[in-house]
Amino acid sequence: MTRRVVRGAALAAAAAFFASAELRAADLELGRYLATECMTCHGTASATSTIPNIFGLGEGHFVEVIRAYRVKALPNPIMQSIAERLTDEDIAALAAYFQTAKK
């Protein structure tokens, strides 16, 4: 029983590791190309601007927010429209790019 729990936890940890490994394998070059669209509005965004700064945003948070726009769970038609055509792969690529990209 105990052994099974430990094994279960190890499996979960391994799954988490490979999930993050998949994120690390995100297509950065694709992210860099797709990100050029974001730059039009977000390139000079700051902590106080209406358009938020997305540089250095955590990958997980980025993915969550864009997916929410994609299903229109967050308002703003511009972001809904942009998110609408992004695949999961696109979003992962963008998230990976912006996590480390410098302005």
Binding site: L30, T50, I78, S81
Partner: protein, 425 residues
């Protein structure tokens, strides 16, 4: 689990191999001349493509931007200058940061394109290119309005190319007395900035209202039966400027007979107006250099391949922005900036073997009706049916809350800062 593990390791290995085989900055072989890209026109299309090529190629491409003017006043947001929301300086930008990005900026007039020799003629100089980007913006068809001419523009400003014309328009607007009439001759399709004339009318009205005018009128003579964001513009005009703006479609005016710059008289089929300020926005076509190089078709605009923004008549030339026939995309700075990124990606892939991606375009146009009342229209575009095709987009709705409209305005101001940095660095 074992299967999944293998798959993931496979994915990782594949990713790192791909990274190794296609570096972001493709190096040029030692001793080999760098490929040359020349860009004509330093506006939203030209500035963006030059900066992105220089920046993303890491110096592997020799980029030259030819722009006559040392500073560039943006047409977008020039209506906000007309309305007194911005000063002239705040919409005027220089090329210092474009140069810093590694672009050679030549402040001279590109006089011709020698397509056979792949050279741009700049006075007595010839600048060779491997790829040429043509982004000259628009020229005005002055004779599309009877009685109007380039000389008449010093009395009846078009202000559809930013600069002294915009300043003249503001000067004339501020000199108006209560009871005066403004007449705007709106342009036929296709033209630069579809909501622009109607945002400008809103700014005229805002200035007159602020000056306390009670009797002044604004008449819009339009050759089109409908215009961009019409329902929300008209709702806004009624709300903020009741009775001041009269928009006439062709059924209402019967046709534009002509303007007389000497007397300020504007004649339509059904009426005659004495305008204290007449703003004539004539029909438009691609900039002269593009037409002279036979890049334009019989419509006066340049056909492009929707996957790349490459000219349909010359595989070494790309046409961006207002001068191009960009399918469903409007002629806007946002569109030009979006098209420039696709062109930069394609040019890099052709010249430095960097990776190519499917073209994606987008556009949003904001328009200010009154303080904190801003509307927007936009959407995504992709190649389809042989053109740049629109996906279902969005447009501001009638009866929206003041909060949404105020938010739109703030968003537009942030966008302006963002896009000018994206164009000019």
């Amino acid at each position: 689990m074992t299967d999944m593990t293998r798959r993931n390791f496979g994915l990782l290995a594949g990713a790192s191999l791909a990274t190794l085989s296609t570096p972001l900055f493709a190096p040029t072989a030692f001793g080999q001349a760098k490929p040359k890209v020349v860009v004509i026109g330093g506006g939203p299309g030209g500035g963006t493509v030059a900066r992105y090529l220089a920046k993303d190629s890491g110096g592997a491409i020799d980029v030259t931007l030819i722009e006559q003017q040392k500073t560039f006043t943006t047409c977008f947001f020039s209506n906000l200058y007309v309305g007194g929301f911005r000063d002239y300086k705040s919409i005027t930008h220089n090329y210092d940061k474009v140069k810093k990005a590694g672009v050679k900026v030549v402040h001279a007039m590109a006089t011709a394109i020698d397509r056979d020799k792949k050279q741009v003629v700049v006075g007595k100089q010839r600048i060779p290119y491997d790829r040429l980007v043509v982004a000259p913006g628009i020229d005005l068809k002055f004779d599309s309005v009877p009685g109007y001419s380039e000389a008449a523009a010093s009395i009846m400003p078009h202000a559809w190319k930013p600069g002294p014309q915009t300043q003249l328009l503001v000067k004339k607007l501020n000199a108006l007395k209560d009871g005066d009439t403004i007449v705007m001759i709106a342009p036929p399709n296709p033209f630069r900035c579809p909501p622009g004339p109607y945002e400008r009318v809103s700014m005229f009205a805002h200035v007159l209202k602020k000056k306390g005018h009670k009797k002044s009128k604004i008449i819009v003579i339009d050759p089109k039966p409908a215009f961009s964001k019409q329902a929300v513009f008209m709702e806004g005009w009624e709300k903020h400027y009741p009775g001041m703006i009269e928009w006439q479609d062709p059924k209402m005016h019967g046709g534009i007979k002509g303007v007389d710059p000497k007397t300020g008289v504007v004649k339509t089929d059904f009426a005659e107006y004495k305008a204290a300020l007449c703003n004539v926005i004539p029909a438009q076509m691609a900039g002269k250099i593009a037409r002279d190089a036979n890049l334009a078709n019989q419509t006066g605009w340049c056909e492009i391949h929707p996957e790349s923004m490459k000219s349909k008549v010359d595989p070494n030339i790309f046409v961006l922005g207002d001068a191009s026939i960009a399918g469903d995309m409007p002629k806007s700075a946002f569109s030009a900036n979006s098209q420039a990124k696709v062109a930069a990606m394609v040019i890099r892939s052709e010249l430095t073997q960097s990776r190519a991606f499917p073209a994606r375009y987008s556009n949003t146009c904001w328009s200010l009706i009154a303080p904190d009342d801003d509307i927007k229209v936009g959407g995504n575009f992709e190649p389809g049916d042989g053109k740049i095709k629109a996906a279902p987009g969005f447009v501001s709705q009638k009866g929206e809350s003041a909060d949404i409209r105020k938010q739109n305005y703030k968003e537009s101001v942030d966008w302006y800062n963002g896009i000018v940095a994206d164009i000019f660095g």
